[in-house]
Symmetry: C2
Subunit: 511 residues, 2 copies
Amino acid sequence: MDPPSLRDNTADVERLLRCLKRVLGEEEVSVGLHLIRRVPRLLRENQYEVQALVHEKEGRGWHLMDIYPTTEEISLYGLAVDLGTSTIVLRLMDLLRGNEVGEVSFLNPQIGAGSDILARIHHAADPRGLQELQQAVAGKMNQEIGRLCGECKVEVEQVVAASLAGNTTMTHLILGLDPYWICREPYIPVTNAPGLVKAEEAGVFIHREAPVFLFPNVGSYLGGDLIAGILACGLHRGDEVSILVDVGTNAEVVLGNRDWIVACAGAAGPALEGGVADMGMMAGPGVIDRVFRDPGSGQFRLRTIESRPPVGICGSGLIDLVAQLFLAGMIDARGKLVPEKCGERLREMDGVAEFVLVPAPDSGSGQDLCLAQTDLDALVRSKAAMYTILTTVLQMVHLTPKDIRNFYVAGTFGSYIHPPSAVTLGMIPDLPLETYRPLGNTSLAGASRALVSSVARKEAGIIRNRVTYVELNVNQEFMGLFNAARFIPHTDRGLFPTVKAGSGGVPGVME
Amino acid sequence: MDPPSLRDNTADVERLLRCLKRVLGEEEVSVGLHLIRRVPRLLRENQYEVQALVHEKEGRGWHLMDIYPTTEEISLYGLAVDLGTSTIVLRLMDLLRGNEVGEVSFLNPQIGAGSDILARIHHAADPRGLQELQQAVAGKMNQEIGRLCGECKVEVEQVVAASLAGNTTMTHLILGLDPYWICREPYIPVTNAPGLVKAEEAGVFIHREAPVFLFPNVGSYLGGDLIAGILACGLHRGDEVSILVDVGTNAEVVLGNRDWIVACAGAAGPALEGGVADMGMMAGPGVIDRVFRDPGSGQFRLRTIESRPPVGICGSGLIDLVAQLFLAGMIDARGKLVPEKCGERLREMDGVAEFVLVPAPDSGSGQDLCLAQTDLDALVRSKAAMYTILTTVLQMVHLTPKDIRNFYVAGTFGSYIHPPSAVTLGMIPDLPLETYRPLGNTSLAGASRALVSSVARKEAGIIRNRVTYVELNVNQEFMGLFNAARFIPHTDRGLFPTVKAGSGGVPGVME
């Protein structure tokens, strides 16, 4: 800037804005009172030569966030957040270099009020409960932001932007919005497009002028996390039809291409995440995440996380196990344990048959690790629900599984799942294996893209507007499809030509 | 609004905005998170039939401030504020009816840090001092807003807008902006266009989303109070040339019409406000505000405020007194007391001649009320400065006093001043008396207009851009004019044809 003189006694802020407009064009540039208070000193200390940090506003124009000396090399960071119901992941990114600097994940502290969404909504019905939930998540996030910044040697004030992807309820709770009507007919969120809010307003303490981008929701049951997922996999940009499946308690399915997108969500049951089996648990040290049965010896080989003695099994391990049991003929097409094949591994407990995978002496917990017939039944119901949802969505747009060119599997679970096992069970269609693309945490990937790209943020809005949310109509036709899918792999074996029951055949070799 | 249904499950906020846009056109409507939090309940409690309160934003678009049931009759109020260095005036206005509801004036509590602007700027040099001054004025204003609302039976939350007119330093201090550079070459304010801020940001507690309009400044020495004054008198709309004079310690002079405006300010000295005379005081009970000498009896007739026994004299009374003394020949053209004419009313105190206006027995204070020769000298210097500033500004644009069609006198002092007395002293030009228009508090009048009219707010910006601020160049020519004006009425008697010294003539009859 030209420094002030008696000939040009333009005020400090207007001098700064005049100079900015020369660079940014004639669009309005706003400034907050807090920065205005610091402007005179900052300009004079730096002889009217400064670097300015601006962000694009939602409507049009720019917001001036901060100014820095030109003599300093500035580092700016951003925070991409996957605001999960169970787990929250923070990723710190260098905004100038575009790379990841650090990452941390932790349990969503709202779990104290209940592990599922409905329990949280119930808890928030009381205004104090809502405040509690908002403060719990914001407080924990602030603590973890502090820790992450500390580890990465980044000042919290250098974190100048954030991007949050969460489902509709999580997005409501972080903003202190009452989710009461989300789960009540006709299922109305407070807002589907919170857009940019100030970090301060969301109770997140980073740079005080930092804009926080919240992914828009399509509706009560289709949240910003899935929009972020679509953004990350790029389904909305392809010419061919792709499908994105986020497997969890709720199976979320998105189908489409550059011209159209349909999405639906349905309850698949917690069985797919290993959540119902007695020995089921979330991924952690000693948890079995891969199972392979040697067709020669008939021995089961287990992979555990960190190679510790086995203490339980997670979803991907469970799916492997059941697929292997089926291929070995140890369970039949109805998912029932076959005594003749299971031999001494089969026993009965309280009138329920169970299969002993790891006897107590070999386990890390000192207890038998077993798969009960009831666990198996739940898994079969869940996989049937998953497959029925997939085929129902496909039918709605008059497509069949063969039309799918890319099958993206999202979620932490999705990145561990072994597609051949899931195909063997008939949980997902029998497509060429290269069609399946486990993507890991797509919400976080989408949040990261939105953090560094205004194009990506605009895309999120476009995706939101393009998605047609279809209600799963659980009618007689659906139930018919569901019942047909309650066999392994399916009543119509022609749909799964590569699956050979009782063959002992190996779908993929264990790494 | 159409209530939500399974067919139209638009979220609450988007439903509200969609409806608003139908009324307001396609411009963006923003909403704060605080209102968003209350929206679902408010909509449902009122069956989706509500009244919305919006305000126009600075750039473009609207901001949704609040929603109310349609079943209630809503009252909305606004606050016009004259943020004076000495006195602050609050006027509460009914925004729907457009009328004034109540008014209160009180001393600016910053006076504790010094009565003049420079002392305040000095005090604010320390960040804690700045905060002190900001909090003092905001705190006192909040208290008085509360009291005024209480008296008028208005809820503070019903006050949904405010408009503040103050000089550049006062505007800085209420916003917590450091005024340090205002009084230091090259005289750079932090900002000349604070525009709209949230009430909260200025520390003013009314409706939490209330926009506060701050009049723009032209520069360090020409503040929003004068812009408000111009707006109020309408000088900027006339075809003919008008002049607006705000008489005070600083004489502020604005000259112009619909095509051009020049303004300047110069020190006239506190004498014009009665601030130097021993018996001088601000208007209050018992203060002499009008003086008339009966040419027959030679008796002085005094008008006091509330007709109480006299305790002192204010500016308008002082000007009357000196004009009457001059017309009676009791002071000469140099402003010196003439012993032969003053007779027994003249005495000497510590070597200085003084004129006894009210002897102790007749006064309300039990003390003589006197006008010393030194007071007279100061008054003559001040009136000479005033006249010189006026003529200098006129000369700059090649005009003479005769070209002035409207002579607006602003300020509390300006509304009490008796123009014939001021003409007699040669403080203002000898123009037809109907040219003079005392306007009272033009800052407050301008602030009131800006409060109720978006056109007026835009006009304020236009005025600001049209005003050319001219520095008073105190050079030899100025000093020549000043010296010529140090006579009563002037060395060039031809400039004041209606003034007859020693005539005992009465310029206007006392009401």
